[in-house]
Structures are given as C-alpha cells and as structure tokens.
C-alpha cells in the first residue's frame, strides 16, 4: 500500500439546498518520501483534496489511507490526535498566532505531546534554526516579513516530526525571492529529512521543485 492512497474519493458540498460536487471518484497514490505538486485551475478542488488527505475534512464517500491509517473511518477526536502525530500543515496565509512569539508559535503543536517545557523549547528552537530563523525566536509575527512568517509556519509544521507535510499555495502570497527560499526549504526537507510533501500551487515554476506534478480538473485527475 502506498504512503498516501486515495481511492474512489467523492466530496459533495451542501450549500443551502444546493449540492456542489467537488471531487468525483478520484484516486491517487503517493509514495513515501515523494514531493508532489498538485496543480489545477481555481475551483478545481485542490484545497478540498489536501484537506481530506490532512484529515481536517471528511469525504462523502471513498477511502483515504495515510501512513497506514484509514482516516475516513476516524471520529473527530481520533482525527485530531492523528493529525497532531501525522500531519504538518502549511497555509497560504501562514496563520500564525499574532499574540505569540515565533518560538511560542512553533512550540504550540508540542503542547499536545508529553514533554516538559525545556524539551519543548529545545525542539522548537531547533526547528526555527533549521528554517534559518534562529535569531528571531522572540519576534512576534508582525515583526517578521511574509517570507519569514511562512518559514516560522514551516517550522511549526515540522516541529512534531510529522510523517506528511501538506502545503496549500505556500508561496502564493510571497514575492519571488521569499517564495524561492520557501521552495528550497521544502526541497531540503524532502531530500534531507525524507518528508513526504504534497504542495498545492498555481505556479509552474514552484511545481518544478517537486518530483511529480498532478493535475486536477473539475474534480478528476487529468495527468
């Protein structure tokens, strides 16, 4: 079985009386250690697919197996624990807590794991050093550039050593140079730390960082 295996996945959103089919019998396999770029026009269901793989949304039908767990069958609380152990999520708009420092933001996921404050601090500091922000531990998000914020968000995503990193247009809000840094970072996490990465992007250049591209169109894979 592949590291990430999606089979016959259907997702229909219900808005008022209207049914909006987004994913229609989609199947996809991603091997451990792969870096996959997910592309496609706006509204094609990329974010929806990513959210389903990440266990923050549940499918209408079909199966999703990630790192050996079929998450389509998990309850809310089980999913939450599974996410904290398995998934690192990177958002387009970074989504850091504005009231916490970079270090505290990165420590946040570790609150869900049994460890003492010193250990938490050590790991979070290490993660921030890894993304090149070892000198910005005490900075608040508003004191950082967009690129730096996104790197803090990446540190937060990888600090609990997840099996899979999911990124939804991580460079979508960044200038070329910062975007480049983020992409290099993701490539490094993939090659050096063997992280499996699924990245949604509109940017063909960004997609070149990946090992493989997957095109989504109107809810089905096109190539």
């Amino acid at each position: 079985m592949a590291w990430i295996e999606v089979s016959d996945l259907r997702k229909v959103y219900q808005r008022d009386q209207q049914q909006i089919p987004v994913l229609d019998g989609l199947s996809l396999k991603i091997e451990e250690g792969e870096f996959v770029a997910l592309m496609g026009p706006s509204g094609s269901g990329k974010t929806t697919l990513l959210n389903l793989i990440g266990g923050i949304d549940s499918p209408t039908s079909g199966d999703i197996s990630v790192a050996g767990t079929n998450i389509a069958r998990l309850s809310g609380a089980e999913l939450a624990r599974w996410r904290s152990n398995t998934i690192g999520y990177i958002f387009q708009l970074y989504n850091l807590m504005p009231v916490l420092t970079a270090l505290q933001n990165v420590e946040l996921p570790l609150l869900l794991h049994k460890m003492n404050g010193a250990e938490r601090r050590k790991r979070a500091t290490f993660a921030l050093e890894l993304v090149g922000l070892g000198d910005r531990l005490g900075h608040y998000p508003r004191q950082l550039s967009g690129g730096q914020e996104q790197r803090v968000a990446i540190a937060r995503a990888l600090v609990s050593d997840p099996k899979v990193l999911l990124a939804d247009e991580p460079t979508g809000d960044l200038d070329r140079k910062s975007g480049e840094e983020v992409l290099q970072l993701l490539e490094r996490l993939n090659t050096e730390f063997k992280k499996t990465i699924v990245m949604v992007t509109h940017d063909p250049h960004a997609a070149e960082s990946a090992d493989r591209m997957v095109h989504l169109d109107k809810g089905v894979l096109s190539a």
Partner: protein, 395 residues
C-alpha cells in the same frame, strides 16, 4: 496552555480591562447591597424581649411628655424605664461624616449592661466616693452635666481621647454643644452599634428644651420576658385616651419599623442587585462573542494542529472565567474591606455594616457563573467550528 489564555486576554488590554472593571463594579455593588440587607436583618435580631420600646403612636418623630415616665414605671412587670432622645447633631468641623448622638438618662446604660461594656472611664479624684447606686465606672459621667460616653469605633475613627472635649452642632436643638468624653463603651454583641455618642438627657432638657421635657422614646426593662406582650398592651391601653397615645413594641419590632421607614428598601435592593448582575452578564457575554469571532481562523488553526474541540472549548471558557472571576474577586473584596472601613451605619440606627465572608464567596461564585455562562456560547461556537469553513472565511 494557560499561558495561551493569558496572552489572548492581553491582545486587547483595553477591552479586557473594561470588561473586568464592569464585573468588578457589579460584584462590588452586589456585595455592598447584600451587606446592607444582612446588616438590616442582623439589627432586627439585636432586640430582646427583655426590653420594650414605647413611642408616640403617630410616629417615631413626635415626642411624648416626660410625665409619662412615672406612669410607665408604675406598670406591673416593668422593672426600669430609661429615656432616649435622638439629638441629630453634626460635627461642625466634619459635617458630612455623620455619627449618631442620643440624649439618655441615668437608667439607659444600666439597662443595656448585658450588651455593652464600659472599657475606659475617667477616675474620680482620690478620696471622693462614688455616688450611691451608680456604677463606679460611670461615676464621673453621672456627676458631670456636660459629660458623654462614646462608642469605641467612633473614638478610633476620630482619634478621640478620654477626657477630651468634643463639639457637636445641633440641628434640631440649635447651638454648639460641647461634651467631655468621660467613658468609652464597647459592644459585647457584634450587632450593637459602637459609633454613637450618649450624653445626659437632663442637659438636653435644660439647654435645648427650655426645661420642659419632651421625650423621644422610652426603653422599658421587663421583669419577666414572657409577659412582654401583656405589658405592651397594658401600657398602650393606659395611654389610649391620653394625648398623645403610645405604641409599645419589642425592641426588635421597633427596629424593624425603623428599617421599614425606608420603604420597601430590602426588596428593591435585591431587585437592583439582580438587575446589575444580569446586565453585566449580557455585557460580558457580548464582549466574549465579539472577541471570539475575531479569532475564528485561529481556532481553526489550533484544530488543524490537533487541538480537540474540547480543548478549544476549555480555552474560551477559561478566558471568560479569568475576566469575570478576577473582576468579581476584586469587587467583592473591595466591598468587604471598603465598606467595613468606611463605618457606614445608616445614621447610627444600625450597627456598622458588615459584608460577610459568605457574601464575598457567593459573589465570587456568581462571577464564576457569569464567566461560565458568558463564555459558554462563544466556547460552543468555537468548539463546533468546522475547520474548512473557518479557513475559507479568511481566504
């Protein structure tokens, strides 16, 4: 985790502070009102059936002739009769800082000997014997026309010393009245007021009434408490055809009557207290709701990281509880210590106000409930939030 609650409170310090202040104020008022009510209740308890109070039937504010004294004395079952007359003066140096003064006769303090102790008193010059039948502690007071006895709380509050002269400006009985402090009394029961000044009725009669005595109230000591109601009706029957007629009641009923001069105060106070608490609840709930709505996407992120719905729920409730319990504790303690320090005592008719610890704890309990209720709706919303919906809203 609790750290996160605290930093979230700090993100809009002004809002947090204002909400906290409103809860503080509400709980202060609540505890202060409860204090008033409890003190009223307590003062009603002070009376004993061993004493009756006879007053003018029409109203407490009209006097009775002094000649009633002998007739009361003669009633079967009455052991002793004392005179007490409201003076209603104020300190010319400090007119706003009210304390009660009563003009009393020589029987008054002995009748209350089970309730008060004389703790400090002026000594007679060596060799002078105390007058017969007079408590040696009150000997100087009794032999000096302008002497007075003062409650220990009033002494402490004003920093007065035994032997000192104090001046009171009369409002009902005009002029400046100077008294020499010859004794200090302390209550044996908590409910007995310790902030009054007692002086000789004979002095009031001579200087303030042109010699013709009119008496505010008579306090009667009974030989047999179980016959109180029979004695009371005998007295009022005796004066039925006199002008004025009298009304005789237990001290307890007398004080209750005094309290009810303020109308339906206790009931209104309780209503006001409830209304305040309820309006603060609405304010706190609204503030929490606004503050949580602003953070919808943050809750979604926390959940994405793996925080459960329950954890998010707890965080929001904790935030509300910190504000309300914090504010409530400050308010309740301020009421307890602030009001007890101020010595507020309803024009001297009541013992100084006390806010009981039980009231303080009930207050803090109410704050806790306000916190829980005001945090409940936003906490439910935050915990039920679906991640995908919340994240879409910001994108």
């Amino acid at each position: 985790m609790f750290h996160l609650v605290l930093v979230n409170l700090g993100r809009n310090p002004l809002r947090t502070l204002l909400t906290l202040a409103s809860v503080t104020l509400a709980l202060f008022l609540f505890c202060a009102l409860s204090g008033v009510l409890d003190t009223l209740q307590e003062s009603i308890k002070v009376g004993s059936e061993t004493r009756l109070v006879t007053r003018n039937k029409v109203s407490l504010i009209f006097p009775m002739p002094k000649s009633y004294m002998q007739r009361l004395q003669a009633v079967d079952g009455v052991k002793r009769v004392a005179i007490s007359n409201w003076f209603g003066g104020s300190d010319p140096a400090n007119p706003r800082d009210f304390f009660a003064q009563f003009a009393v006769d020589e029987n008054y303090i002995p009748i209350y000997s089970s309730d008060v102790d004389i703790v400090e008193w002026s000594q007679l010059p060596a060799g002078v014997p105390a007058p017969a039948g007079v408590d040696p502690k009150l000997a100087v007071f009794e032999t000096e026309q302008t002497a007075c006895v003062v409650g220990i709380k009033l002494m402490e509050k004003r920093g007065w010393k035994l032997g000192q002269q104090v001046t009171v400006r009369g409002t009902i009985y005009p002029g400046d009245w100077t008294f020499t402090i010859r004794g200090v009394y302390k209550a044996k029961k908590k409910s007995f007021d310790e902030s009054s000044l007692l002086f000789h009725f004979s002095y009031l009669e001579q200087k303030g009434m042109g010699g013709s005595g009119q008496v505010g109230i008579y306090v009667l000591q009974l030989a047999d408490p179980s016959r109180a109601s029979a004695v009371a009706s005998a007295i009022d029957g005796m004066f039925q055809t006199s002008a004025p007629s009298t009304r005789t009641e237990s001290e307890q009923a007398f004080q209750a009557g005094f309290v009810s001069m303020y109308g339906n105060l206790p009931f209104v106070l309780r209503l006001v207290g409830l209304a305040i608490v309820f309006s603060i609840l609405l304010i706190a709930a609204n503030t929490m709701m606004v503050s949580m709505r602003e953070r919808t996407s943050e809750f979604a992120v926390l959940k994405t990281l793996g925080f459960t719905d329950g954890a998010v729920f707890g965080m929001v409730v904790a935030e509300a509880a910190v504000i309300t319990v914090g504010g409530g504790t400050i308010g309740a303690l301020a009421a307890k210590f602030g009001i007890e320090k101020s010595g507020f005592n309803m024009l001297g008719f009541l013992p100084s106000m006390t806010v009981y610890w039980s009231t303080v704890f009930v207050g803090i309990g109410i704050a806790l409930v306000i916190g829980a209720v005001s945090g409940l709706i936003p906490a439910l919303q935050a915990s039920r939030l679906r991640i995908v919906d919340a994240l879409r809203r910001v994108e």
